[in-house]
């Protein structure tokens, strides 16, 4: 579904794909017709908050500090083995950590809306009945 641009800096996808996209693109968006429609939802607003609070934490700041510190080490060229360390611990690790942070949020979401740990495709026919949300709440009947 995805393709890269010639420069490699643009990832292109024609449609949303996967839960991460869908949560971000569609979750709190779309036509809301209060007067006519009952919205039957489970704590959706909480979910989007969960995804975003992950960012500014002490943990993040310490990782930033470490990353900037690594740049110092690289520039001064002290300590043997640093280049290798940097290669391994640098971009790759940062990428992993970034993903880790976001996925941490995603895990929280999965847990909250009861999507379970199975990372399978859409052919799970047990459907929603087997996956109750813990924070489930009734819609407000009109």
């Amino acid at each position: 579904m995805q393709r890269e641009s010639s420069s490699g800096y643009i990832t292109r996808a024609p449609r949303s794909s996967g839960l991460a996209d869908v949560l971000e693109i569609l979750l709190d968006r779309g036509l809301v017709i209060d007067a006519f429609v009952r919205v039957s939802l489970v704590g959706i607003e909480l979910l989007t908050v969960d995804l975003r609070v992950v960012i500014a934490s002490v943990d993040t700041y310490l990782r930033f500090a470490e990353a900037v510190n690594r740049l110092d080490l690289q520039q001064t060229g002290d300590a043997k083995g640093i280049p290798e360390l940097f290669e391994k611990g640098g971009e790759e690790a940062a990428e992993t950590k970034t993903k880790g942070a976001v996925e941490g949020g995603m895990d929280a979401i999965k847990e909250r809306i009861g999507l379970g740990g199975r990372d399978d495709d859409d052919d799970d026919d047990e459907g929603s009945s087997g996956r109750r949300s813990r924070s489930r709440s009734r819609s407000n009947d009109r």
Binding site: S5, P14, G30, I44, I55, A65, T98
Partner: protein, 236 residues
């Protein structure tokens, strides 16, 4: 009377066979149509499961490929066909359909490479020295916070720059808070369908000039999820 799940609103036409086989149909009234499926009365509320969310996205995005779709927010349930027909009769719905007849939404996410920290770090020498000479948690947090602030300033600057470059091509935009440490921005762009290629070209140019490189992720053409606000009087 059976309840109906509402995916969105469109113009009357055939439902693609793949969706029809899944029970998706149109409730049509005078040039407007609600995209619906019947809900099992026993089923209770529609839950925000992965499966349900993906199904909602699939239906509105598939239907949007051929013609305008006003996507409903996930979770809308109509009490029955009458409620759907009443909804379709609203003048605001016709206005929105006309506004979005040829539009689509593109979502654009910008993400930095970790090398952004090298540029930022260059401006934070005193804090870095303090941290290196005495790497305490406090010194680390002070340095990290300063990095975070610089990153936030850079996000704002780069978002503005991207929007400036795209402004001639877009009808509207919505900005939301990006998720992720190296995320730069998260934009929803409303564009005419025939301008999508133009936006891609413009982004190619931008990505060459922005340093350190910003990675863009562009998704679409999508239905105008972020541009279908409707102001209706409260229920009687």
């Amino acid at each position: 009377m059976s309840r109906l799940y509402l995916y969105g609103i469109t113009r009357p036409r055939d439902v693609p066979a793949r969706l029809a086989a899944d029970g998706i149909s149109l409730l049509t009234e005078d040039g407007r149509a609600a995209i619906i499926s019947e809900l099992d009365d026993e089923a209770g509320d529609v839950e925000a499961t992965r499966r349900n969310l993906l199904a909602h996205a699939d239906v509105v995005e598939q239907m949007h490929e051929d013609a305008v779709v006003l996507p409903a927010r996930f979770g809308h349930v109509l009490d029955g066909p009458d409620e759907g027909l009443e909804l379709l009769a609203l003048p605001e719905i016709e206005q929105l359909l006309e506004r979005h007849e040829r539009t689509c939404e593109l979502t654009l996410k910008g993400t930095y490479e970790e090398t952004v920290l090298a540029e930022i770090g260059a401006e934070l020498q005193p804090l870095r020295r303090a941290y290196r000479s005495a790497p305490s948690v406090d010194a680390g947090i002070a340095l990290g916070e300063a990095v975070g602030e610089q990153l936030a300033a850079r996000r704002a600057r780069d978002e503005a720059q991207v929007l400036d470059a795209l402004r001639p091509l877009i009808m509207d935009f919505a900005s939301s808070q990006p998720a992720g440490e190296f995320a730069a921005f998260n934009l929803a762009l409303l564009v005419e369908r025939d301008r999508v290629a133009g936006v891609e070209e413009q982004l190619e140019k931008l990505s060459e000039s922005l340093s350190p490189p910003l990675h863009f992720k562009l998704i679409g053409p999508l239905p105008p999820y972020s541009f279908v606000r409707l102001a209706l009087p409260a229920a009687a």
